[in-house]
């Protein structure tokens, strides 16, 4: 639920009893006031009547009135010193309904004769009053509701805008591009605090990230020299003519492992450099030429395994990629298609202006989608020459230079597609 919907809902829930109580209070208050007024009027009327009756009774007639509003009936009851007030309901013939009345009654004496005097006033306005109050209240409540919804909409469009802008920025935050992301200051104090905190946080994360990356790069660089020394020493050691076959073999294996270590190091550095965008796009190398070059470079590997290579290449496919990366992209994908193929297997290569697809047969099962581009994720036990970084590098090139790299397994073919 949106924050605004929620606040609006709460507002309505709180306002409903408040308005109800208000309506009840108003009704009660008005009702009391009307009763009071009517009672006063009745008392006043009685005073007038008494005066009139006093003057009108010189001839000492016997009065007998009986209307709904005024009754004067002779009685034997003793004279009452004070009048009594009460509410009654009487049947109205014209409307065929009961109607509320206020009634004043007192036994009075006119020239020695006792009369029961009753004065009544209609309270029919009371019903109308209740209707009016409910009507007004509903109108006010509805009006307020519309106003609240409208103003909330307005608020969400304006006051909350910096919040949504910040949210959008956080959503698109990337670790390697954090530096460029600034959460701008806003006229709202709370959002300012939020943005400031976010700025500090991203700065800190970015700094940590840079430190980590520098550590990796420095470590990789620093490793090159000892590797170079160890390798050169082994190469010199190999020249000793007095070495036994076993010793030679051990040196050879050690040298081989050193090679592997330096390749690994080289590839880790390469990954870091691609991520750092140290390969600017200054020209558009023709992928067709790159492909032809690597096909001829890998010629003997293909021949050795007796692979069938079917190609369908467009004459020219300039891709927006650094030439070194174009080489790596093609050689890694083509190299894998050869390395993981079985003897007399097949390779299909399709190159259009925007896509490069390479598929190959293999004894390996489908690679789980989650693992295919992960570092050091080797599904290829027994291929000790792999360091598990080839596809990770391809993927990184894709991510950094907006080339989509996808993997598919179809009819026994491992299919890799790069599209720009």
């Amino acid at each position: 639920m949106k924050l605004l919907t929620k606040t609006t809902l709460y507002f309505i829930i709180i306002m409903l009893p408040v308005f109800g109580a208000g309506a009840f209070f108003l009704f009660h208050k008005f009702n009391k006031e009307i009763k009071h007024e009517t009672d006063e009027e009745l008392a006043n009327d009685q005073l007038q009547w008494l005066r009139y009756l006093d003057t009108a009774s010189i001839d000492n007639p016997i009065f007998r009135f009986r209307t709904q509003e005024f009754q004067l009936i002779p009685t034997d009851q003793p004279v009452q010193r004070k009048f009594k007030l009460k509410g009654v309901t009487l049947y109205q013939e014209t409307e065929d309904a009961q109607a509320p009345f206020r009634e004043l009654s007192q036994v009075i004496s006119i020239h020695g004769k006792h009369y029961q005097m009753i004065l009544r006033k209609s309270m029919i306005e009371k019903d109308d009053l209740l209707k009016n109050i409910i009507y007004v209240m509903l109108l006010a409540f509805g009006g307020l509701l519309v106003f609240v919804v409208l103003s909330n909409w307005f608020i969400s469009r304006n006051v909350w805008r910096p919040f949504y802008r910040t949210l959008d920025k956080i959503r698109h935050l990337q670790l390697n591009k954090m530096e460029a992301r600034r959460f701008a200051s806003t006229p709202t104090h709370e959002f300012n605090q939020l943005n400031e905190a976010l700025n500090q946080m991203t700065d800190r994360i970015h700094q940590d990230y840079i430190n980590m990356k520098e550590l990796t790069e420095d470590a990789a660089h620093e490793m090159q020299t000892p590797l170079a020394i160890a390798q050169s020493k082994l190469e010199l050691l190999l020249q000793d003519e007095n070495l036994s076959e076993d010793q030679l073999k051990n040196i050879g294996q050690t040298s081989e492992e050193l090679q592997r270590l330096s390749r690994l190091n080289h590839n880790l550095l390469l990954l870091a450099k691609i991520e750092n965008q140290q390969y600017p796009v200054t020209e558009q190398p023709d992928l067709h030429l790159v492909l032809i070059q690597y096909l001829s470079l890998f010629e003997e590997l293909i021949r050795e395994k007796e692979l069938t290579v079917a190609t369908n290449l467009v004459a020219s496919a300039p891709w927006p990629l650094h030439p070194a990366l174009a080489d790596i992209l093609v050689s890694n994908l083509l190299g894998n298609a050869i390395k993981y193929n079985y003897p007399t297997g097949r390779i299909h290569i399709t190159l259009t202006e925007k896509t490069f697809t390479i598929s190959n047969t293999s004894n390996l099962p489908e690679i789980p989608a989650a693992n295919v581009f992960q570092r050091f994720r080797k599904s290829n036990q027994g291929y000790s020459n792999s360091n598990g970084l080839g596809l990770a590098i391809v993927k990184k090139i894709g991510e950094t230079y907006h080339i989509q790299i996808t993997y598919q397994y179809l009819n026994g073919l491992h299919i890799f597609t790069a599209s720009c």
């Binding site: 660089h221 620093e222 090159q224 020299t225 590797l227 170079a228 020394i229 160890a230 390798q231 050169s232 020493k233 190469e235 010199l236 190999l238 020249q239 076959e245 030679l248 073999k249 040196i251 050879g252 294996q253 040298s255 081989e256 050193l258 090679q259 330096s262 390749r263 080289h266 550095l269 390469l270 450099k273 140290q278 390969y279 690597y294 470079l297 890998f298 003997e300 590997l301 050795e304 070194a324 080489d327 050689s331 890694n332 083509l334 190299g335 894998n336 050869i338 390395k339 291929y383 020459n385 792999s386 360091n387 080839g390």
Partner: protein
Amino acid sequence: MKVLIIEDEPSLRNSIREYLEHQGFVCEVAADFREAIDKVTDYEYDCIVADIGLPFGSGLDVIRELKSLKSKAGIIIISAKDSLEDKLSGLELGADDYLTKPFHLSELNARINALLRRKNFDGNTSISFFEITVIPASKTVLVHDKSITLTGKEYQLLVYFIANQHRVVTKSALAGHLWGDAYDQAGSYDFIYTHIKNLRKKMMEAGGEDYIKTVYGTGYRFG
């Protein structure tokens, strides 16, 4: 042939020196920037092998100095920094070649040989090893003065072997020489064996001696 090795790591410096001296070069060494500048201003060298990261300065500045002295020496950069800018700026300054650490000594030696041939004789010279003669300009190989036909890779192998004669050359060094960075992708070195077998066969058919000895488990020795 005189080579100056500018490298601050003593172990690596000595390895390079030992290997190159064994291959018949006269070597001098410089351990830092100042020593390097002193040596290049005072003496003439045929080839200079220079590291970029040096105490008191950069190898790139040594190249600048060499160029301002109008030195004819061939320059090979060896750097731990496998960075493109270094490579490009080095080559732009006038370096002739670039090798990233770690490298094979046999590769460095082969590159120096190729560079010196290019520089000193404009490639118009032949390389001889007993009955074998290689003419780089036309990529021709003669055995007992009879021309034999080699594939590109076989030719590269032969030149590499002759440059590193009498030395054990590892399979990975050969693979790196023939395929560059892409040899990562090879998966195995088996295919080198095919090339060597063919090269050996072609030379022996022409009456040449079998100079390529297999060194158990590691590589090959030529001569």
